[in-house]
């Protein structure tokens, strides 16, 4: 079972469940105070505005007791995917490196973007070719990826960048960067390949009924692996 963790103010939790079920996964919303079910075989930190973005986006949810349980499972290799506010929670809690902060134009950016697959050898990207250009929607005010120069070098050296914002031809340019992210980074891995966060919304580009959004999100959600939940 994939647990989609719901905080006060999460609002993409239902979308995530629907998208995962469409792909054949068993997924359930789990209220953060209830803890993780025993049969949790995957974890989604969904988008939204947990705790009204108080202090910093994701900062409050990152302190929720369920995060300790999530970290424990994460270290056992249970796949964890943070999307949008879930990415902010992931970085605030230290699951993934860097920080997501106010967009450079100080605007909420709600649009379709192109992403270049930077590392196709991860569970989240193995459905794509290295360097492939995919399209996903974004909807965020605080998506500018910031990281210290030192950690950025480590990130690049260890191939931890999943996606970069690019133009339709795969060129990583300033014009194609919707929020001023360092090095156009849109998504990164944690210490394990099974832990990933990204600002764009794969769950909003998974159901074929939403033709406009495309279905590139499916490949990312397939990162949860075998569809029969294995607890072993």
């Amino acid at each position: 079972m994939i647990a989609v963790v719901q905080f006060g103010g999460s609002n993409c939790d239902r979308d995530a469940v629907q998208a995962l079920e469409h792909l054949g996964y068993t997924a359930e919303r789990v209220w953060h105070e209830d803890g993780l079910p025993d049969d949790t075989a995957g974890i989604v930190l969904p988008g939204g505005f947990s705790y009204g973005d108080y202090l910093r986006a994701g900062a409050m949810a990152a302190q929720s007791p369920i995060m300790a349980a999530i970290r424990e499972r994460e270290q056992q290799g249970v796949p964890v995917l943070g999307v949008c506010n879930g990415a902010q929670i992931g970085s605030e809690s230290g699951l993934t490196p860097g920080a997501f902060t106010t967009n450079d134009r100080a605007r909420f950016q709600c649009e379709h973007v192109h992403l270049r697959v930077e590392n196709a050898e991860t569970p989240w990207t193995q459905q794509f070719e290295q360097g492939a250009v995919i399209s996903l929607p974004i909807a965020h005010g605080e998506g500018r990826f910031e990281i210290t120069d030192e950690r950025l070098s480590t990130l690049n050296a260890n191939d931890r960048v999943l996606f970069r914002y690019c133009d339709p031809n795969g060129n990583v340019t300033t014009a194609a960067n919707p929020n001023g992210s360092t090095d156009n980074i849109a998504g990164v891995l944690g210490d394990r390949d099974t832990t990933a966060v990204l600002m764009p919304h794969p769950e909003r580009a998974t159901l074929p009924s939403r033709q406009q959004a495309g279905t590139d999100g499916q490949g990312i959600l397939h990162g949860f692996g075998a569809r029969t939940p294995a607890t072993e």
């Binding site: 202090l55 910093r56 900062a59 302190q63 970085s91 605030e92 860097g98 920080a99 902060t101 106010t102 967009n103 450079d104 134009r105 100080a106 500018r144 910031e146 990281i147 210290t148 950690r151 001023g180």
Partner: protein
């Protein structure tokens, strides 16, 4: 135990873009003010009891490290005064 008020000021690190400050500066420009720069910061006032100033500082520094500031983008300052 002594009663203290700690003031924590959290600022973006030098070199980290501050779009909110930039926007505010532009708005002041529009109002006709002349300024060369504007920086923003968050300030928290924390009342606490502690056995000493040093202990109060230690506690509040930990609060800043663990929650009030994000070390990737922020620097912070702690000031302690008796209340």
């Amino acid at each position: 135990m002594t009663a203290y008020t700690a003031t924590v000021t959290v600022r973006l690190k030098h070199g980290v873009l501050d779009p909110e400050a930039k926007t505010t500066q532009r708005a002041l420009d529009r109002l006709g003010f002349e300024l060369s720069a504007l920086r923003s910061a968050d300030q928290y006032e924390i009342d606490l009891e502690a056995p000493s100033t040093e202990n109060a500082r230690e506690q509040v520094t930990e609060m800043a490290d663990r929650l009030l500031a994000n070390p990737t983008i922020h620097d912070y300052e702690v000031q302690i005064s008796e209340r």
